[in-house]
Subunit: 231 residues, 4 copies
């Protein structure tokens, strides 16, 4: 069942430690098959040295396990909510990568301060509020997904234009058209989180990137007339 997608998700999970985004098993990647509305996700707490593609778990959009002998990542219900509400996305990544997590702990949006940011994120990466006691009691992981969706709605953000978010006190989620691009967006978020923190320290009056340059860099890669890369 979904063997090709399992292989993609498996490989994308292995990419997390290679990119320095996680230690041990602290992270998870999933990807969805929009035909069947089923998604594939890493099992919970399995050592990356012994994990195999066939250990990936298949789930539906209500957060039920459809196939797989292992428990899915405990964050699986968050993924389900995101796939259900963000219809343009195909892959999701969750890590506790150092610098993005620092911004999440600080409870601050990551502002667009340079073209490294603008090449991937069309504006600031938002930070949510803390989850509340009643949300935690109702279902922590599912409510985490709902809070992300609500944050994007309130701010009028399109998920593929700003493919990531920080959970206050927790860590980042990123997404993309597939598992691989979700991982790449996690790498970019981590890098700009580091650069922007030290930019602020070096010059507390540093300005955000002017809108004209933000537009140029985002649109030359992602706009209708994009001319970056090969055809």
């Amino acid at each position: 069942m979904l063997e090709k997608l399992k292989e993609e998700v498996f490989q994308a999970n292995l990419e997390l430690p290679r990119q320095g985004l996680i230690k041990y098993t602290w992270g998870n990647v999933s990807a969805i098959d929009r035909e069947s509305n089923l998604f594939v996700i890493k099992p919970s707490g399995v050592d990356y040295q012994v994990m195999r593609a066939q250990d990936m778990v298949v789930c539906d959009l209500d957060g039920n396990v459809v196939e797989g002998e292992l428990n899915p990542s405990s964050d699986m219900p968050t993924h389900a909510v995101l796939y259900k509400n963000f219809l343009t996305i195909g892959g999701i990544v969750h890590t506790h990568s150092t610098w993005a997590t620092i911004w999440a702990q600080a409870g601050l949006d990551v502002p667009a301060m340079g073209t490294t940011h603008a090449d991937t994120f069309y504006g600031a990466v938002p930070c949510t509020r803390f989850l509340k006691q009643e949300e935690i009691d109702r279902g922590y992981e599912e409510e985490t997904g709902k809070l992300i969706v609500a944050t994007f709605e309130e701010r009028g953000l399109k998920p593929l234009e700003v493919p990531g978010v920080l959970l206050h006190g927790h860590a980042p989620f990123t997404w993309g058209k597939d598992a691989d691009s979700a991982v790449m967006n996690a790498v970019v978020l981590e890098e700009v989180a580091k650069m922007n923190l030290f930019t602020r320290q070096l010059n507390s009056f540093a300005e955000e990137l002017p809108q004209a340059i933000l537009d140029k860099h985002y649109l030359r890669k992602h706009g209708e007339n994009a001319y970056y890369g090969q055809k």
Copy 2:
């Protein structure tokens, strides 16, 4: 004698440089056999390239060498005191890992500022006071152990709920149910020490993690109804 435990302790010591926690021989791991009340510890100052499992030294809870031709780690008496007083622990790690040592030198507890912390430590990791001249004269390494035990008693902390401590002006000790989990706790402490320092720098008003989220993350992994990982 205790060959299996020697192998575990040997492997756990090799994990320290792999995880970037130590340079040269600046660290030590031990593990205890609660049946015989004997523990196995790394020899002092032996190059990791030539060290073998059979070089591990066996000691009793009064800090006597029971078996082994090499001197045990000079911190051995600290380990003995911890095993004697913290009856739930099975392994101990001492490193001078960069970021945890920075907090130790600053003389500050590492507060719980995010879920990365809460997944492992149920609250702040305490920092002791400096050792005094008379304690150093009486026996530096043994008194180090006693100071850790006294710190946990004064604060009403359970060793397995907060599996680590900082010695003011010195460095961290961590522990766990066995040598491997003590190493993993050292990795987590190092990571949260780094993240929390920069969280404070990024936002000096950053709040500690709300109790409800601290409870949720700690208990979903370590509580009675834990559901993280596989059964």
Copy 3:
């Protein structure tokens, strides 16, 4: 066509990730043949794992592709302007390396604070102003090159004495007599950007390097009577 130069440019591009200057394909190196006034540059957005020497693209000084089936780096017109105006240079590198980019985002020149800087850069590395809307509309990449040239003219700097620049809100460009030295200058700029940021944090009164030491270090390597290295 220019096969030897293609190989040099190809190898210099591979050096960027090895030196930790780039992630993914975020960077580009070129080199010029001053006989034919043609330069060779990396193709745009091609994975470094599959890229080959023959994939390098040949361009002229007006920014036309002369040979090659792939699109050149989108920054190619910047390279063309630099080669056209800086007649002493033979290679150019563009990266978004972390610490140099932090200074670019902060909009600050990197001052000469130590001999590591003076061994390569004969004074501060300048940071340009932001590009303006009308420049972006006229041709972003070409205008980037013109802004660099104008900045060097205004400040009376010689390109080989100060072989690098920061674009405000963007990232560094470095250059040199050939592709390899342009890469080495990118490595030095990244390192001094890191060191100078923390020097300022450690001691906000830290002085710039005295002129006498700046002269000594720059000239013992690059002056008429240089005596560093082998003959």
Copy 4:
């Protein structure tokens, strides 16, 4: 001539990039044979990939080349002055390692803030003043050595008790009983330079290590009754 010492010096030089202390050829290690009063040092600016043990250059204490076809490191006269004046040392290392160089650029002594420091350095690592124009004119490298010697005399420091120094605006020199221990001392200095910078940032009121703990840690490794390591 001095083949064994050449091999030791060669291997110690290779250790510098392995320990992350240098990039390219920015560093040098030497060691002395006190019988003949000749020392062996790395040649200047030779790529570490092609350098061989027999390329090491033999010099005397007046800074003359006694054997070798390549130019010695341009810092050779500094080494000569140190060997001539610090009669207890057997090896010298010079690097521009990041964090030690940051303190050198800041013009500040590295204070003893923890036991990592105290295990190797018996007190603060001093930072010299800047060299003056007339000293540079007289002979930059030789005067660098004289300034180090004068700094140790003024402060009443013993070279083997405080086996390192920072040159203001430049970088560290470390030394030891042989080439290997000089490299190890360079590693320790780099690590404590990093830790102490961030300790100050985390807690600007952080105290230096109490004298009793400094004594204990230094002397248990280096004192008459040292008990660290194996006999």
